[in-house]
Each structure stands twice: as C-alpha cells, then as structure tokens.
Symmetry: C2
Subunit: 357 residues, 2 copies
C-alpha cells in the first residue's frame, strides 16, 4: 500500500447516494474502479460502480471484507459510526481522516474547533437541560435556533425559537438528544467555498459560490458570488486554515455568512458538497474529481472557473420541470437515478452556463 494510487486501483466509498454516484463517475474518469458500501437497496451509485456491498454499518464482517477489497476508503456523508471507522482503518486508509469526522460529527465540537482557530461563528451554547436552555437564552436571546449536536442535515433535527417562550417545545423536539443553541446571525447572503487539500499539503479552492436555500435545502448556487476582492480572499484563506488545521485530505464544503463584521463560518462538511455541483460544468476538474485526486494522492487540479454559472437543485416534484429543462440552451442536467420521487428528496440538479453576450 502506497499513498499514491495508480489507475486500476479500487476506491471504496461509504454511501451510495448521489454524492457517491458522482464520485464513482469521477473515479472512473481517472481509471479507478469503485466499490460502494451502502445499507439501502438499489443505491444511485450502484448503477455506475464496479461493485456494491449492501450491508449495515454495524456489520463488522461486511465492513472488513469491503475494506480488504479496496485501496482507500472515502465517504459521501459525515455521520459514519465510529465503530465502523475502526474496523475499516485496520485494513486501509480513510481519507479525509478521522479528525475531520470527529470535529464535523458534532456541532459543539465543530464550533469550538473553529473558534480555537480564531474564526467567527454564531454565538452558541451547549444544551442538555431546560435550565441550560433558559440560561443560554439570556445571553444569546431569540430568535435563535436549537439543533441536535449530531446527525442533522438539510434542516432536520432543528427547531427555531421565535421568542424565549418557545424554549419548552423546542427542547421537546430534540427528543432528549444533546443539543446546541445557536444565535441568529444578521447576514446579507451565504457563500460557500469548496476547498481541497492534497496529500502533500497543497490547497486549492474553487471560486466561492453564492447559495440560496428554500425550506432548509439548498436551492441555487450562483457563480460568481457577490463578494469584494478582499472578502473572496478572506473566504479562501479561512478555508485553507481549516483544512491545514485538520491535516485534511480531500474536498471540504465551508459555508459562510457574509456580514458587515466579516465572514462567519456556518458549518463545514468533510466531503464533496451540494454547493460545489456547479464545478461539473464550470471547471476542467470538478469537485468530485478533485476529491478523488486528493484521496488517491494525485496532485490537485487548479480549479480555475471558465464560465459564469448557476446550479439549481431538482427537489421532489421539480422533476416535472424536466421536459422544459432539457430544451434549455447551455444547460447540463444531472439526474441521480432515484427510483421514486418524494417531496424534499434531491432528484438531480442542473447547471446553466451564463452568456453575457
């Protein structure tokens, strides 16, 4: 086992959703084969992978066989049980590494990590009991938002407190899970940096994109984002700081609030990120290939953007728009091969290259 993989090597991917699917395609482009590990039946990534293991994350035997069949393991989501990681790491490297997962699996740990780096976050407090919450509300105030420390995504496991009177019901929504209260931030807009770090420590960031959310789910990412030159530089420097602090290998999504007091880190995701899907049609090397390059020990692509571009997600019944979208100029469709359309489910996305002439 060397750090640098040659074409023909096998990349193991934990998770067979759309991110695993697009990672698998990118891996194939570099001559790698992929092996997907996924508990659910008929995973989107399975249609474009060499091999699929359908098993649970607590099936140590399946995890071991999987880990022995691949040269490196990566993942499409951060909430992988620690015990599963222990089994895998006995047989092959996990990239990005354990520290990135430890930090990002827990909102409280993540906020502390970011503050220790001297970066700005929303004000926050650790919440276990009702009295914790009441005390926190005195300093953080309302409106604010209560979130489970672990296993939240796309607005799940969150309760908004419009006033301090919502404290009781919000804590009940957490169902006893350790939580964190976050103060609301006054921000003009949200941007994200898709940043990559290679195995030898080089960092490459894509141009930050500007994100708009709907119902707690990413709706569009627009390039270029509305940022001054110094804001853009700040965004890239702070992303590099995070990656270096974690000795990170791979692609990370860093969500930032743009405020008059500077950039505030909303959250980090130790993986390819929905707000980086525009790179598929805006750059020679997209975020998926960039991630594969990093975890394979290859040099990073330079990430230069060749076009202005807008990415839009296709959520649930947005799929009804497909007949119109496929007629649209300069638009690249990316569907995830999900058998069933459900409200709130990410079914695909499309990238539209913007022509100004």
């Amino acid at each position: 086992m060397t750090d640098v993989l040659k074409p023909g090597a096998t990349i193991g991917i934990l998770g067979g959703g759309q991110l695993g699917r697009m990672l698998s395609v990118a891996a194939s482009r570099l001559g790698f084969v992929t092996h997907i590990f996924e508990p659910g039946a008929n995973p989107p990534a399975g249609h474009v992978a060499d091999q699929v293991t359908m098993a649970s994350y607590d099936d140590a035997a399946a995890l071991q066989t999987f880990a022995q069949s691949v040269d490196v393991v990566t993942y499409e989501f951060e909430n992988i049980p620690t015990a599963a990681l222990d089994v895998i790491e006995a047989h092959c490297p996990i990239r990005p590494g354990r520290e990135a997962l430890r930090v990002s699996q827990d909102r409280l740990t993540e906020k502390g990590f970011l503050q220790d780096l001297g970066l700005q976050t929303a004000p926050y407090a650790d919440i276990v009991t009702q009295s914790d919450l009441e005390a926190a509300l005195e300093t953080i105030g309302a409106p604010s938002i209560l979130k489970t420390r672990r296993f939240g995504y796309d607005g799940k496991g969150q309760a908004r407190l419009k006033s301090t009177e919502d404290a009781g019901s919000a804590l009940a929504d957490m169902a006893g899970a350790p939580s964190i209260l976050e103060g609301f931030i006054e921000f003009s807009h949200e941007v994200s940096v898709i940043a990559a770090r290679g195995i030898t420590g080089e960092v490459s960031c894509y141009d930050p994109g500007e994100n708009i959310h709907r119902d707690g789910i990413l709706h569009t990412t627009t390039l270029p984002a509305r940022l001054t030159g110094s804001q853009r530089m700040d965004a890239i420097l702070l992303a590099g700081k995070i990656l270096n602090a974690l000795d990170y290998v791979g692609v990370m999504g860093v969500e930032l609030f743009v405020t008059p007091k500077g950039l505030i880190v909303n959250e980090i995701a130790p993986r390819v990120h929905n707000s980086g899907h525009w790179t598929q049609n805006g750059c020679a090397v997209d975020q998926f290939e960039q991630h594969i390059r990093a975890i394979a020990g290859w040099p990073l692509g330079d990430g230069q953007r060749h076009s202005d571009i807008v990415m839009e997600n296709l959520i649930g019944l947005d799929m009804d728009r497909l007949d119109d979208l496929i007629k649209q100029s300069d638009t690249a469709i990316h569907l995830y091969g999900k058998a069933e359309t459900k409200p709130g489910r990410k079914m695909g996305h499309f990238n539209t290259i913007q022509r100004t002439s």
Copy 2:
C-alpha cells in the same frame, strides 16, 4: 414502448470499449441505466454500467435476452454482424437505424451514397481482382491507397501504393477481401463535424474540430479549426444533408478534407467519434450525452462551445506521461480503465482548455 424514454429506462449498448464506457456515464447523468453487450472479458464500460452481458455476436439467445431487457439499443462501433441486428430488432429499436449501418459498413457503398448526395469524395474504384486494380490505377494513379471494403479502422486493413509497382503486394495484403482503391487527395488539413439528429428530425452540429493523425490514429483535435466562415457553414450543411438522407437518429462523426476545391468527405462513422471527445470539456452537453438524448427521443442540446480546447489521445506508452499531465492546468484527463497498456492501444485522452489571456 414509446419513442421517448423516461429517466429510469434502460439503454443497451453494443460494445464495451471506451466509447461504450463514456456513453454509459452520459446515460447515467440523464437518469438512465445501461446494459452493455460485449464479447470480451472485463470491458472498460462494465465498470460504470448497471449490467454486462458477455457473449458473442453470433449467440442469438444471449442477444435476445439482452434485447428484451432494454428499451433501446445503440452501439459504439459500426461493424456489427447483420444477423445480430436482426435478432435485436425483433425486440427493440436500434438507433441509429439499420440504413446508417448498411451504408457505413462498406466503404464502396458509403462512397456511392455520398456521391449520390452530390458530395465530393476521393476518386475510388471497386477492386476484386488484380486486373481490376491495374485498370483502376490507370485512372486513379499512384500514390493511392487500397482498403478492405469492410471491417477496417485506425489504419487497419489498408495498404499504400507509392507507385503502380506496389499493386501486387497491396492486393496480397487484403487477403482476398473485397477492396476499394482510393486516390490520394491533396488537402491542407482534416476537420471533422460531430453532428447529431434527433428523433423529430432536428439537427445540431458541434463546431468542427481540426484533426492531426499519427501512424493512422487520431493524435489531436483542436478547436477552433482553421476554417473560413463559409467553409465552416459548408461543413455543417453537408453533415446535415448526410444525417437527413439516412433519417438518422444519434451522433455521427463526419471526417472532411479541406482542399482548394472545397470540402471532400473522407468517411462517416455512425456513432460518437474520437474527434468529438473535446466536447466533454468544451460544451454543456457533450457528444455522448447528445447521442443518448437523441436515441432516447429527447430534444438535443444546443452544442454551443464555451472554450477553445485541444484534445489529445493517450496511445500505448503515452500513459507514461500521466504523472506530468495530471499536474497541468486546465487539463481534464479521461482514462478508459483498460487493464493492459499495449502499443497503439487507446488508453485515454485529455482535454486542455486554452486561455488566451
């Protein structure tokens, strides 16, 4: 069975080489699944396909089962035995259709078809015997080139005649196969048009690329090609004429010689084409997706080029250049996942976006 496929439908692909592989990836992007039919073991397309049938083209039972499992059949090469097509067509449509295959499988038929359309070709003659060849050499002269009528590709099944004295050895090289003598054309350069026609008859052409060959194999394709505005228009119009005459559905490669007397058609290929690989990094919809859109009955992408670009093939030991290439800015690598590197074997290609600033 309708003409228009919905995401989730299955596309059958005859041939599991690099073209089948890239077609399979493009199909997945539009939410289709793919089933590859390929006689050889461990085909490149198999790593990114949902299903692979490994069987011979004379295995009628395997062809039938394959055809019954898919919604449409397409192909990555034109030399498919007629009997195999008969078996498939009893169960599902073949796109592009049989007429395109009939014409392009035989160089003599193809030349006649092109001349009947009023297009220019090299002077040619049907050659069976030594006396045919001698007679033809009197009008066509030398240098000229003797080619088998069927089953040639990448310079295989060809013999150059530097003088009329080479007639005997050249005919011996054909090993008794029906052949065609083609006169040499004085041309300044070669271009190709990657043209697509949809199921409702609309035609969309990519900007012509300029090709350079080495040892009979495509070396580079450069965009834009050196063409005047009227040459570019001629190229596109004649490609459209060919596609319409064949009631064609899918992508076709049309190779053209640029001469002082106008454009001369070298050959046509009823499939995605090596000289169209640049579209992967130069357009929102590449030739592979364009082909899948056409055979799925979807509207075509508009094929607008967003960047100047150079495609270069990685043949055999060119793979030794990989370590350098992956460090190169604005370069997208595409490897085919072939287990063994052999001289003359197409192992991959790379597209480099050209920046003029």
